[in-house]
């Protein structure tokens, strides 16, 4: 009997089984064991980030050229304004001696505070929407600057998010406006414990599972409670702007406006673990 002209299949079933079992093992290992993160860091730094940089260069070159033309006139106006401001500032400089005394007095009060905020780092935002389907940011500092997964990221006005992935020179931040992000928080007026969730369809937040008869008013300030040890305590999250009490249902819908302008923030502050313990 002659062999068939076409082989029925070129593939090996046992090879398929082998690859499938390897992938399942790697999923399980990745979920249970955080040390697999080193593989991600290596491939991110040596393969993905260079490609992202190459891809970014052509488009940024053209946009920067166009911007340059536009901004020269703006710069001239700015120089005039700055020259004026400079004179005013020189006059104000004379008041500095009296202010110095005041500063030293305030410093003694804040000496306890400075010890806590010693370990703060400031990072710049390099990309937006880096994780598909998720509200996210990329910053320009990474594990080289001792950034770790889970650290709180805040702006000058309030909470921004938390670090979810760290490479050598960059790291990714999940924003509080993402639907998967839950922040343990507290209502400063009543002391009620809440869980704040992102909405993803707009830039507002909402409270999940708040009973209809709870005492909450429009304008209440919500701050982080520090429970579960993820976020630093008493950072501003936002203010309540709308309360919809759903008749006939158990839970009310409460809309919160974030304190930080999350879509416009350019620089963020990352705090390290030492601050969280206080």
């Amino acid at each position: 009997m002659s062999p068939p002209i076409f082989k029925k299949s070129v593939t090996n079933f046992y090879f398929l089984i082998l690859l499938i079992s390897i992938s399942i093992i790697s999923i399980v290992v990745d979920l249970k064991n955080p040390s697999t993160n080193y593989i991600r860091i290596i491939i991110n730094d040596f393969v993905v980030n260079p490609i992202q940089y190459i891809v970014k260069t052509p488009s940024s070159f053209f946009s920067s050229y166009i911007e340059e033309e536009k901004t020269i006139n703006q710069l001239r106006l700015k120089i005039d304004k700055l020259a004026k401001d400079n004179k005013v500032l020189k006059m104000n400089l004379q008041r500095i001696t009296s202010l110095e005394n005041e500063v030293s007095r305030l410093r003694s009060i804040k000496s306890v505070m400075t010890e806590k905020i010693k370990n703060i780092k400031i990072a710049k935002i390099t990309h937006r929407d880096v994780i598909p389907n998720k509200e996210s940011l990329q910053m320009n500092i990474g594990s080289k600057d001792f950034i770790k997964i889970g650290q709180t990221v805040m702006g000058t006005n309030g909470l921004v998010g938390q670090v979810v992935e760290v490479s050598m020179y960059s790291s990714k931040v999940l924003l509080i406006t993402d639907i998967n992000s839950n922040v343990p928080a507290i209502n400063t007026r009543t002391g009620k414990q809440l869980i704040i969730k992102g909405r993803s369809q707009d830039d507002f937040l909402e409270i999940s599972f708040l009973k209809n008869n709870t005492d909450i008013r429009s304008g209440d300030l919500i701050v982080t409670s520090g429970q579960a040890g993820r976020f630093i305590a008493s950072l501003n999250v936002g203010r309540v702007i709308e309360i919809i009490r759903n008749e006939g249902e158990r839970f009310a819908t409460v809309i919160i406006e974030p304190s930080e302008y999350i879509n416009d923030v350019n620089e963020v502050i990352i705090s390290s673990d030492e601050y969280k313990d206080k």
């Binding site: 070129v10 593939t11 690859l19 992938s23 399942i24 990745d30 979920l31 880096v130 992935e165």
Partner: protein, 154 residues
């Protein structure tokens, strides 16, 4: 040989360019994998599909191996059906790929639920439709490359 590997690299670059599109970003790397599996079927394609899935997982910050699992299964089906796929016209191939991609996405969603992850169902289905619609572009450009550079073996 070099050209063969370069096409995968180009596929990776294309996926990274379209990353800001979010959930409608097409899976270029998978399309390149499918083309080579039909053009030059061999056992090695399964391994390459596994590696590409690994890269996609790293880029999209998913648990390592969750995409490679679905890629390997899809490429296995294609390697099994490559003789029938070669006889079809490009439109017929596109329709078959739609079906296979949607099966693959359902498998992916199922894996996500087994490991208790959130999967955006409608987004994944839309992305598979877009990926299928891009099949003719991939097919003709890669066929041109294969004939021009005489790629006969991986």
């Amino acid at each position: 040989m070099l050209i063969f590997h370069l096409t995968f690299f180009v596929g990776l670059i294309l996926s990274l360019i379209m990353l800001p599109l979010g959930y409608i970003a097409p899976e270029w790397l998978l399309l390149v994998n499918i083309y080579w599996a039909i053009a030059l079927p061999s056992n090695k394609k399964l391994f390459i599909a596994f590696l590409s899935g690994f890269f996609v997982d790293i880029v999209l910050v998913q648990p390592l191996g969750i995409t490679s699992l679905s890629y390997v299964l899809l490429i296995y089906i294609i390697l099994y059906l490559y003789n029938s796929l070669r006889y079809m016209t490009i439109t017929q191939q596109m329709v078959v790929l739609f079906v296979l991609l949607i099966i693959k996405q359902h498998f992916f969603i199922w894996t996500c639920y087994v490991f208790s992850f959130d999967a955006n169902y409608s987004a994944l289905i839309i992305s598979s439709l877009i990926t299928g619609a891009l099949w003719p572009i991939t097919y003709f450009s890669l066929r041109f490359i294969r004939r021009k550079f005489q790629v006969n073996a991986d």
